[in-house]
Symmetry: C2
Subunit: 308 residues, 2 copies
């Protein structure tokens, strides 16, 4: 059964069930450039109530440090680095704690600075990534004569790919040279096909990764929602009981699936892309959502402000 | 039943059945930088016998003009432009004669000069492609502010994608803006995942196209072997009877499938990647090859040189 949280009692019953609150960000906390109503108050109230908050985002271009700045821009200064779980960090944790890759091994990166930064923080050496030698190709560039094609580094035992708005043929070809070796692991930060940006829809990490997957004939594991590799990474870091955790999001096929597949409770907010009718229609199906609310801020308004 | 051509009689029987000879190039005429034995003599002999020759290649980066130069480099100076069918030209013919796209419509190109050249020869205007504005992105490039993202050209009604060793995020994102419109046709020159080059395996046209396909959620028709769009284009240009035509190639899953699906005879030569045992094993199956020979030059050696 799906419960719409509309009364103080419903909100209190919901809150009493969970100690860990995992949040999607865009569509839940903010929409594009605008913070949603009562988000600051709700997050502070949850923290004051002893709840543990984790912010989960598929964005792979930003490190946790960079994401903190985004929170601060919205005035959410009460958030700390260890509460943020981007897919770059999730991938780094997955490599370290689940795959247990030795830090003697190198990682070839297709992606932006956020990925490199998270890997370096966990002690890994990377090649590729934002290296100017791969990014700034001269007009007379010849891939075959280029160092990353001619000489593969035998210390590389994993290729991690994410969104890279500086992608080029050289990077794709270099990643392929490593993936010819089946002993080299192929991992994706996330496989989102697109992302919205200022009214436009742009190619996402998945569209970069799909290119490498097709050339190599290999399918990577993905550390982004809804894939459970991200959940495993979060659990490896925070060690919570899924029965005492809830995933809060605005998308059925990513956030809600992510929570459901991980055995967590689910709360869908209607401030993103899903219409209420769709949520109601899913009652009794496998995709049923446990709770939904008009907006995240309703929790604060109902419990603290005693809104009728 | 599969016949291995080993005697003069077998070679003559084979030749008598066909007026049109479609040839794959690499692995049949040459291998990398080396012309295979008696190829020049065989092609001249076939022409002198009144046979019509068509050279079919999935390479989309070269126009027919550029391909002629490659033939000339091997001393094959007896080949003319209208005997060459690359996937760039096949795509242009397919657009003109099968899709019947008006030349008032523009084509957005992801690919190299060969594609643009073939489209221009058939009267089409292209945008994208090798335009320096898309290819030479400055370090501080911002896709959202760039003209191809901000302003889609309403005259574009087709996106043609092929191999582009100068691919970048801007080109991928621009192609996606056009493909958001379901009225815009999505066409691929070919979907080869990789191609060999001087001992290395590099990403092929298909790996560029797969990126755009994944982002747009659309699957293009492909004008390369083994897809029959290329056969339709060849027929639209040369108008032959499939029963009087044979496809000569070195690959079962591209060349032989291409000929078989088109209702042509098939001749596999063992100078490429397939071993003889594999060809023999396929007898009696759906993938059975009609004829095979150790090399293309056997036809000349058996019929003209009376080799025993």
């Amino acid at each position: 059964m799906t419960v719409k949280i509309e009364t103080k009692q419903q909100a209190e019953d919901f809150l009493a069930q969970y100690d860990y609150f995992l949040f999607d960000c865009d569509g839940v906390l903010w929409l594009g450039d605008h913070l949603l109503p009562k988000v600051t108050e709700t997050l502070n109230f949850l923290k004051a109530s002893g709840k543990k908050l984790i912010f989960v985002t598929n964005n792979s271009t930003k490190s946790r440090e960079a994401y903190l700045k985004k929170f601060a821009k919205f005035g959410l200064t009460n958030v700390s680095k260890n509460e943020i779980f981007g897919s770059a960090y999730a991938s780094a944790i997955y490599i370290k704690k689940i795959l247990k890759l030795s830090t003697n091994k190198k990682i070839f990166v297709v992606g932006e600075h956020g990925i490199e930064q998270e890997l370096h923080e966990l002690g890994y050496s990377t090649i590729g990534g934002t290296d100017p030698e791969l990014t700034n190709m001269p007009a007379d560039f010849n891939a075959l004569e280029a160092p990353f094609i001619k000489n593969v580094d035998p210390a590389v035992s994993l290729v991690l790919a994410g969104l890279d708005t500086r992608i080029n043929y050289y990077k794709l070809a270099a990643a392929l040279q490593y993936l010819h070796d089946p002993a080299v692991t192929f991992l994706a930060t996330n496989i989102d096909s697109t992302f919205p940006n200022k009214g436009k829809v742009l190619p996402g990490a998945g569209s970069i990764i799909q290119s490498i997957a097709y050339a190599s004939g290999r399918t990577p594991r993905s550390c982004g929602k809804p894939n459970q590799e991200m959940m495993e990474a979060i659990k490896a870091e925070h060690g919570f009981d899924p029965a005492r955790a809830v995933m809060v999001g605005d998308r059925l096929n990513t956030d809600m699936k992510f929570g459901r597949d991980g055995g967590l409770g689910t709360l869908l907010v209607l401030t993103g892309i899903e219409p209420e009718a769709r949520v109601v229609d899913l009652q009794g199906t496998e995709e049923e959502v446990k709770y939904y609310a008009s907006k995240l801020g309703d929790l604060y308004e109902l419990v603290v402000e005693n809104r009728e």
